[in-house]
Amino acid sequence: MACIEARGLRKAFGKTIALDGMNLRVEEGRILGLIGPNGAGKTTALNAILGLTPYQGELRVLGRDPWAERDQLMRDVCFIADVAVLPRWMRVSQALDYVAGVHPRFNRAKAEGLLAKTTIRHTSKVRQLSKGMVAQLHLALVMAIDARLLVLDEPTLGLDILFRKQFYDSLLNDYFDRSRTIVVTTHQVEELQHILTDLIFMDRGRIVLSCSMEEFESRYVEVTVNPDQVAAARALKPMYERQVFGRSILLFDVKTDRGINPNIDRPQLAAIGEVRTPSIADLFVAVVGNQPGMAQGAAQ
């Protein structure tokens, strides 16, 4: 059974179309990164998945209709909707008591174990904690819940690099066990690259790219070319080109069966410059930033 299955998912706010017929299938045990510019519909998609907003089209999460069966679904689904949604008046001990009281799958000992690794004291109120500590507390609460799907919407927004790294390390080491599914959206894609198993780019309510990370690594190639080789490289029709310190960096889609450039392969590219796997951010700019109406990035 797929963890999330959506067909023709639509949602409009007045005349603004937030989701424009989105098709999505996420298997269990995956870590999916949902990447898109502001207003791409990521949060709307997540809200639909979490039963926070009604929608048109077909959507099943863990086999349930999230809007109609939200109360049952929430026993198996956990989410961090945003940083800093923990109530500021609450004490850490009260948060533990409350979640233990209302959630049948909360493992209090595990939450306390996770908190013991931080500097958060049980007597502190949320308002006394730093932004990073609030995120740590929220993550500790959520990770101690034995959920089948965890949804994270910009969980590390505004955190410094140390907290962000620690956040994802903790998620991988102490939580992910290949049977749970994690869906995460973020603008800070760098830290995610080695965590994700699947990648989706969204733009204007649609999915513009969907692939597994294995596919990502085999399919997209970034080549750094010296000026004398640029013409040869451009002849191979790169998806995207940018300039860094006088050298050109070209991004190619080398997928042979259904790629846009069936004739190029890695050895050919290696002959004209340094070859490496692009970062998600660079591919994102190439795919989403290249579309009409968007700012044209650094493309020349």
Binding site: A81, P87, M90, Y98, N107, K110
Partner: protein, 307 residues
Amino acid sequence: MNTQSNTMTGPSIQSQGTPGAVSATRAMYWSIRRELWENRSIYLAPLVAAALFLFGFAISMLSMRHRITASPLDSSQQPDLLATRYELSAALIMGTALIVGIFYSLDALYGERRDRSILFWKSLPVSDLTAVLSKLTIPLVILPLLSFAISLATQFIMLLLSSAILLGSGVSIAALWTQVSFFHVSFVLLYHLLTVHGLWYAPLYGWLLLVSAWAPRAPFIWAVLPPFVICGVEKIAFNTSYFLALLQERLVGTGDAMAPHSAPNDFMATLIPELHFFSTPGLWIGLALAAAFLAAAVRLRRYQGPI
């Protein structure tokens, strides 16, 4: 790290067979507890009111002691004196609880949207119905019971204080304990709190919660403005004031008790709604209205996100 995560996932596999569910009462219990954590004024405000009253009472008793020793009271006057003050203390505590209840209800579903914590509450398996019901329970059940308990304690302390002071002045205090039927007063108070505050005021709190669930900002204005406008329009269009009369009946109809200036003997009588209270259509229409407001508030909470 690996061994730890392995032991952690052990029970998870077992628990997947049995779909976990927290009983509705348990979810309700924790939801109410969390309301009390968040809004400590629910019990602090009536306690402070009681403490202030006792302070004032102690001073008045001390000053009275001098007068009593100067010109001894007729022993039949003692109970009246104390009874009036019992009522005053109850009125003060109930009035405080009423104000707390009104402001609590106005903020209950608005505050969680404003500070975005609604996203945290909604991430837990607590239904919107449970959440809204727990918030309605505060003004309809918790506050009346709390004001009853605090009033009872206050009156008992008053009885002890006055006994101690009168004892020192050499006046017989027997009448204090026999003629003021302590338990009768308490029973009347409890009955009043449960019927008037718990049932008669239910549509008012339902309305406040509804506004709180809906208002984009300034819930107080939105709660007060519509009734005000309806009264005005009715007056201009039909030159009648049925709606105003309806509101007055709801607010003070059975609750003349709030007025501390009423005569001591009448006071207890006004506290108890007439015997046919439970057969008045007003009560049942009010309760139906409260249920409708509540259903609308639950539905709104379902659709509304943070603001």
